[in-house]
């Protein structure tokens, strides 16, 4: 579009503005502009400008999309504040992205908490690195057609899949992903684990340390697990084992982590491709378990996976040797300390002369 063309549009907008009926103007606004005014020009599907890089930027706004969005009752100028001035002030746009980046700030005015959370996210790190394509609010939520982000729940992974295609495909085949497509409210979508706004980098320590609790939020929930016949012992048995103790102590010790990574839930069960443990594709089914152990213990041989009790509590039928040692010490320790303690008490009793 030429400079002349832009001037014509701006002029048209200005004319629309000055002739708009006063009754449609919200009260208290210094420069009241109603949506009808804006749509007067922006409903035009061919309305567009050109960025400095030559790319066209459509300025068209679909009235239907706007009406169907959660912001239907808002005025255009609530977000596009600078556009309340008609004719619009000139903007120097290097690219279409420049406009998106500039408008992203507008979300903060209302959604302060979530906006602030995004500043801690891995996406913001990409922004800080200078990645112009790193996702901003509208890239996930949409712009004029912004809807409830998790209705239906499949929408979440579809949104993430716009960039994270491979991961989303693996998730879709996983035990969680298969059920989310049936709109099962129990299974996690991307944001249930990764969070929606303060998405931590998955290789960050804080993320790694909160993993067991993250899975435990559902897998230690008796009511939820009962529906699927799953044991809620998984978190407790993991935490009581070497891997889990290490993860817990690293989280709570209040010092930087210095040791090698320790296995957490997804290290064995898979990250996005988690399957039922009995599924032949599962990383933890017996046939695949040694291979899974070898990710961290490269020299492991056939007996090695037997060292892990598969989240079972030792008992007469499962790990009887471990159970025997456990019971043995339950008996031995009170016996030993009680037997010796009684002799000391008898000695003191004798010395005290009470008898």
């Amino acid at each position: 579009m030429t400079a002349d063309g832009r001037f014509v549009i701006a002029l048209a907008c200005w004319i629309l503005f000055v002739t708009a009926p006063a009754s449609a103007q919200p009260s208290g606004r210094s420069e009241p502009v109603d949506n009808a005014t804006c749509l007067g020009c922006h409903a035009d599907a061919s309305l567009a400008i050109k960025a400095a890089d030559g790319a066209g930027i459509s300025l068209h706004v679909s009235e239907n999309a706007l009406a169907g969005s959660v912001h239907a009752k808002h005025a255009c100028v609530d977000c596009h504040k600078a556009m309340a001035e008609i004719p619009h002030p000139a903007m120097a746009l290097a690219s279409k992205r420049t406009l998106t980046v500039a408008l992203n700030e507008q979300c903060r005015a209302c959604h302060f908490a979530n906006y602030t959370k995004t500043l801690d996210s891995v996406h913001q790190l990409a922004v800080a690195r200078g990645d112009r394509m790193a996702p901003l609010c509208v890239d996930c939520h949409g712009a004029h057609d912004v809807k409830k982000p998790s209705t239906p729940r499949t929408l979440v992974s579809q949104t993430c899949a716009k960039c994270h295609e491979g991961v989303a495909a693996a998730y879709a085949r996983s035990v969680h992903g298969q059920d989310v497509s049936k709109d099962n409210p129990d299974v996690p979508t991307c944001v249930d684990c990764h969070h929606a706004h303060d998405i931590a980098g998955p290789h960050k320590t804080e993320w790694e340390l909160r993993l067991p609790d993250m899975c435990g939020r559902c897998h230690a929930d008796a009511a939820k697990m009962k529906k699927y016949g799953l044991s809620t012992n998984v978190l407790r048995t993991y935490l009581a084992d070497f891997h889990g103790k290490t993860a817990s102590l690293r989280r709570d010790q209040g010092t930087p982590v210095s040791g090698a990574v320790v296995a957490r839930c997804p290290d064995c069960h898979g990250v996005h491709d988690i399957q039922k443990t009995k599924d032949p594709q599962s990383h933890v089914i017996k046939a695949n378990l040694l291979q899974t152990c070898r990710q961290c213990h490269p020299g492991a041989t056939g007996n090695f996976p037997g060292a892990w009790l598969s989240h079972y509590e030792p008992g007469l039928h499962k790990a009887p040797l471990v159970y025997a040692v456990k019971v043995g010490y339950w008996l031995l320790i009170p016996f030993m300390i009680g037997g010796l303690g009684l002799q000391i008490l008898l000695h003191l009793w004798r010395l005290s002369g009470i008898r």
């Binding site: 007996n303 040692v325 037997g339 009684l342 002799q343």
Partner: protein, 301 residues
């Protein structure tokens, strides 16, 4: 005999090597307990705080493993030293429990309960033998299981995998038991016992006063007094000395293990007996002998 008592004020009881061994065990025990228990009790706040003070679980583990390897080396050196002395027949086997120790323990309990006198002891009394063997065998358990846990892949390459979680439980519980025995039995016998309060320093100085030796190890005291007068020193009576050395090497730890179990059993036995007495209507211990006789009479008639 008493009028011929040696004029020396104190007697050397422990060699420098033995004192060093005790010092090393003591130090390593503290390090191992401090770095081990936060791992066992990982879900308690104090464990997390302590781990933080130690520089994190990974640092704590490094110290635990280093101290554990040193402890294992100390144990191996000690056992080797003793085995050599057994083979060369240069040890009197004075630490191996005998039937006499069982009798001494029972007599002591009876003495506590008010019948008879306290027994007289030789070089090591039954409490000390218990503690030594408990320590030695407990150390063997923690060192053995500790190595299995330090090298799980190697362990599982020739043993069933289930041994590793079993070793984990044994290591953790044996460590707890050792700690409790030290807190209860050793701290009592070496510190809180009114006979030695506040501190039996023999293992640090290597010396014991003639007065204490006479009081606590009367039989040894008499033997030493005999030697001081120029008379031939009696070899302490020990049935194990008659065995060949390979048999000694096998029997000594078995006797130690049996005795380590027997002593708490005697303590428990007192309770069981008191309960039994209460149930069968026997009231006083003083008339116990009579009532037993009466019962025996009743049974035969």
């Amino acid at each position: 005999m008493i009028e011929r008592a040696p004029r020396v004020q104190s007697v050397t009881r422990f060699s420098t090597l033995e004192r060093v061994e005790h010092g090393a065990v003591m130090t390593l025990f503290v390090v191992l307990a401090l770095t081990g228990f936060p791992q066992k009790f990982y879900d308690h706040r104090w464990a997390q705080v302590l781990t933080g003070w130690l520089g994190g679980v990974d640092t704590a583990r490094w110290f635990h493993r280093a101290a554990g390897l040193m402890f294992g080396a100390l144990l191996a050196a000690h056992v080797l030293r003793l085995a050599v002395s057994v083979v060369r027949r240069t040890t009197t086997l004075s630490m191996v429990p005998t039937r006499r120790d069982v009798a001494d323990a029972i007599q002591t309990i009876n003495y506590y309960l008010g019948s008879g006198d306290a027994p007289r002891f030789d070089r090591f009394d039954y409490r000390q033998k218990f503690e030594y063997w408990g320590m030695l065998l407990g150390s063997a358990v923690v060192v053995g299981t500790g190595l299995a846990l330090l090298f799980p892949i190697r362990t599982a390459s020739w043993l069933p995998g289930q041994l590793i979680p079993a070793a984990y439980v044994a290591h953790s519980q044996e460590g707890l038991m050792a700690f409790l025995v030290v807190i209860v039995w050793h701290i009592y016998n070496a510190h809180l016992n009114p006979d030695v309060f506040p501190f039996d320093a023999s293992i640090f100085t290597g010396e014991i006063s003639a007065h204490r030796l006479e009081h606590e190890h009367a039989i040894e005291y008499e033997r030493l007094a005999q030697g001081a007068t120029g008379m031939p020193v009696q070899t302490p009576d020990n049935p194990y000395r008659r065995l060949s050395w390979p048999v000694q090497l096998v029997v000594a730890p078995i006797a130690g293990a049996v005795f380590a179990m027997l002593l708490p059993a005697l303590g428990m036995g007192v309770v069981v007996k008191a309960a039994f007495d209460a149930m069968t209507g026997r009231r006083t211990r003083r008339g116990q002998g009579d009532s037993q006789d009466r019962q025996a009479v009743a049974r035969t008639s």
